[in-house]
């Protein structure tokens, strides 16, 4: 299977502090990849490097075969990105925001793409609503919409369910699976919620203090551990080992 995301000895230091340490990882096309780790483990730093927003201190990374530093423009055309706590222009409607981002992504028929995208995300009713008037869950959907308007091959989600209620979390989880199955998008998802991983992902990795602590397919994980609780135990024990 084709490799969608490749990281080779990826390292990022901030003023001597090593946020990401020698990370080597490959994610296959069509996967929903869950990147687990506690706060400050280096998950967002990894996503920032992969979305070309941050340059690594050393090592290399590529998305769809494009180096994120040397071919950053090319890499960007393959990716969609939803940051944590997605925020758009409050004074604009969803349509105005989406038109702007669709045009910026070079989408040929922006209006058609917006209608299609909102139909996929089951929220065409939000089109004329101002972002400032939306609930957190509605914003999250429009945030997801702006990221997939150009039908990227890889979708990066940073803590996508952060701040959502249980219903919002389930809805978003279903949408992520839908995007993966119907549009064939590879999904790279940062999270620290164990429940999200087991219900959504096809493979996971655990990051602890900037280092890769564990990487396996979800089948491999489930074969080794019986339920979410044991997966949580694994997560906690890995982090405890790294901390020690």
């Amino acid at each position: 299977m084709t490799i969608a995301i490749k990281m080779n000895q990826l390292t990022k230091c901030y003023n001597g502090f090593v946020a990401l340490n020698d990370l080597t990882l490959e994610i296959k096309q069509g996967e929903i990849f869950g990147f687990l780790g506690h706060n400050g483990a280096g998950k967002t730093t990894t996503i920032n490097i992969l979305t070309t927003l941050l340059a690594p201190t050393s090592g290399t990374a590529s998305v769809c075969g494009c180096d994120v530093v040397a071919q950053s423009m090319k890499a960007r055309s393959h990716i969609g990105y939803v940051p944590e706590n997605v925020r758009l222009y409050d004074s604009m409607t969803a349509l105005e925001n989406l038109l702007f981002f669709a045009k910026l992504s070079g989408v040929g028929e922006p209006r058609e793409s917006i209608d299609e995208t909102l139909a996929i995300l089951d929220c065409p009713q939000l089109l004329t609503m101002r972002i400032g008037e939306m609930s957190k869950g509605q914003r999250q959907r429009i945030g997801l919409a702006q990221a997939i308007l150009h039908r990227p091959e890889v979708l990066f989600l940073d803590e996508p369910t952060s701040g959502l209620d249980p219903l919002g979390i389930k809805t978003l989880r279903d949408l992520i699976v839908k995007l993966n199955r119907e549009l064939g998008m590879t999904v790279f998802m940062n999270t620290h919620l164990i429940s999200e991983i087991s219900k959504t992902c096809t493979s996971i990795a655990v990051l602890s203090q900037g280092r890769l602590a564990y990487h396996d397919t979800i089948e491999g994980v489930l074969a080794r551990f019986k339920d979410d609780q044991t997966l949580e135990d694994l997560y906690l024990s890995l982090n405890a080992t790294q901390a020690a």
């Binding site: 967002t44 920032n48 979305t51 070309t52 927003l53 941050l54 423009m73 090319k74 960007r76 055309s77 990716i79 990105y81 940051p83 706590n85 997605v86 925020r87 758009l88 222009y89 409050d90 004074s91 604009m92 105005e96 702007f100 981002f101 045009k103 910026l104 992504s105 070079g106 989408v107 040929g108 028929e109 793409s113 702006q146 150009h150 039908r151």
Partner: protein, 318 residues
């Protein structure tokens, strides 16, 4: 679905339209523009009122003089340069115009940072230079639109006032005045945008350019030419000759080239025929050069700052 990378110019066009749309919905920007317009109307009214009073007195004096058999002098309104009626505009542009441009420039970048969309913008296949050029274009368009409307009000005022001798030179002078004003306001717009991109907190991003504006408007003229803060607002002060002496010679030679407020006052006063500028060491070419270089340097600095803007920490901390 087809998608492609955008050229710098396409990016700039999209960025400019978005900045204008957001700016028009920003109450602070609209309020400052409205305040500037109100001052333009006040300036027009003051010019109309003063001219009307002179015309009225002249109209009453003519029959009296004729009845007494005395010679009737020409209407003094005809001797007054028509553009000098708008002398207050120099002060309004230097104060409100510059401040409005500064806030407008600030908003073009701050709106993105406050909305948290910088990572979304910079993770797309667009060039940051294009985004910076778009925002610069938005500032230019906004400044030109505000000044064009102000110029239109001034032109109407001149047309309705009786007794003014209006020729091609007057209309050309009006265009020159607003062109120079646009250059001056644009410099502050760019300064606002640079600071909005460069600083980590919004309070600093606003405080620093306002301090620079105050310094250039009130403090530098005092250091270079001994012009007090209140006199610095008076367009007549463009005619003042800087005191001689080692201190002023040194300060004017060092700070003169960056003193865009003095350059603007000199140019605006000359164009409006408020002062001749005779006796001062400033020249039209020198003052124009100062404004042009300041704008070019600030535009370059803005592109540079936007390229350096850290998308991962783009939200203001306050």
């Amino acid at each position: 679905m087809t998608s492609r990378s955008l050229s710098i110019f396409e990016t700039a066009r999209l960025s400019a339209f978005a900045a204008i749309k957001i700016g028009l919905r920003d109450h602070t920007v609209v309020l400052l523009a409205a305040l500037f317009f109100a001052m333009v109307l006040v300036s027009a009214y003051l010019g109309w009122s003063a001219t009307g009073t002179v015309n009225s007195i002249y109209a009453k004096a003519v029959p009296v003089l004729q009845a007494q058999g005395k010679p009737v002098p020409a209407n003094p309104v005809g001797d007054t340069p028509p553009l000098s009626l708008f002398r207050n505009m120099v002060t309004y542009v230097a104060l409100l115009g510059a401040l409005a441009a500064l806030v407008l420039g600030h908003q073009t970048v701050a709106a993105d940072r406050k909305a948290g969309v910088v990572p979304l913008l910079f993770s797309r296949p667009v060039n940051r230079t294009g985004i910076a050029l778009g925002k610069t274009s938005a500032i230019i368009l906004a400044v030109v639109a505000v000044l064009a409307a102000a110029g239109f009000i001034n032109a109407l005022t001149m047309l309705v006032l009786p007794g003014l001798s209006l020729g091609g030179a007057v209309w050309l002078g009006l265009i020159k005045f607003y062109s120079v004003s646009a250059l001056y306001m644009l410099a502050f717009g760019l300064l606002g945008a640079i600071c909005a991109a460069a600083f980590k907190t919004e309070s600093m991003a606003l405080l620093i350019p306002v301090t620079v504006w105050l310094t250039l408007t009130f403090i530098v003229p005092q250091i270079t030419a001994n012009i007090g803060p209140m006199a610095a607002l008076n367009p007549q002060s463009a005619n003042l000759v800087a005191p001689t002496g080692a201190f002023f010679t040194l300060t004017s030679s060092i700070l003169g080239p960056i003193s865009i407020a003095e350059s603007y006052r000199y140019l605006a006063s000359s164009v409006l025929e408020i002062t001749s500028g005779a006796g001062t060491t400033t020249t039209t070419e020198g003052a124009l050069m100062t404004l042009a270089i300041a704008n070019l340097a600030l535009a370059w600095a803005f592109v540079f700052t936007m390229k350096r803007l850290d998308a991962c920490r783009s939200n203001y901390r306050d």
